[in-house]
Symmetry: C2
Subunit: 137 residues, 2 copies
Amino acid sequence: MNIWIELENAERGECRPLAAVIESIPWNADGLITAIAQQYDSGEVLMLAWMNHAALSETLHRGQVCYWSRSRQTLWRKGESSGNRQRLVEARLDCDGDAVLLKVDQQGPACHTGRPSCFYNAIHRETVEVITAPLNH
Amino acid sequence: MNIWIELENAERGECRPLAAVIESIPWNADGLITAIAQQYDSGEVLMLAWMNHAALSETLHRGQVCYWSRSRQTLWRKGESSGNRQRLVEARLDCDGDAVLLKVDQQGPACHTGRPSCFYNAIHRETVEVITAPLNH
């Protein structure tokens, strides 16, 4: 049986081997799943990015978040050049295994604009408002 | 200039017309952006889904979340059959406009499995553990 259906029907506290679960991830046509980074203590959603098999494996192994950069087509060790690293606190897969939620401890701003979160464009009835400023600005 | 760069360089509190921003959303090859639903008060990340132009417009207009179902290739008015609706409290676009964060008030479980959130598969060192049970189970 499909492991996602097994997990769906499992009781709370039941486990499956990590290797078997990762083996069953339904990577998209580009070999990727979506990753949501959330600050572990405040609950703030920081950014959305992508992971391939290597990025997910490295992240779980090292405990520092590594994405796949779709624009640069390379592994993207978050904060490697900027210092704005994400330490992994907890990771969870969703019900059909094509998205991963990363609870992280973000060092500095998560966004390339210098803002704490990438989600700084608030949608109002008629306008979009920039609701945060870059840190140290 | 690209409106995303304008917003990136805008001061906190600056606005742009909603219509112009939506006009500039970089929909993917299938005409979609990713949508993250987050319970507005607890901060719990509930699910990840997809929206096309019509789904986003309807969601903003009606204040009830509507996604695009990739499996059924149709608008998916969340909770229309199950009753597990998502009332939109706030919506935010990210820095490059290809993801939207929906702060919602979730009625009942968000996940089709009956669990509060779709992210119930916790990744440990060697195993994946189901950490929540379906509601009323």
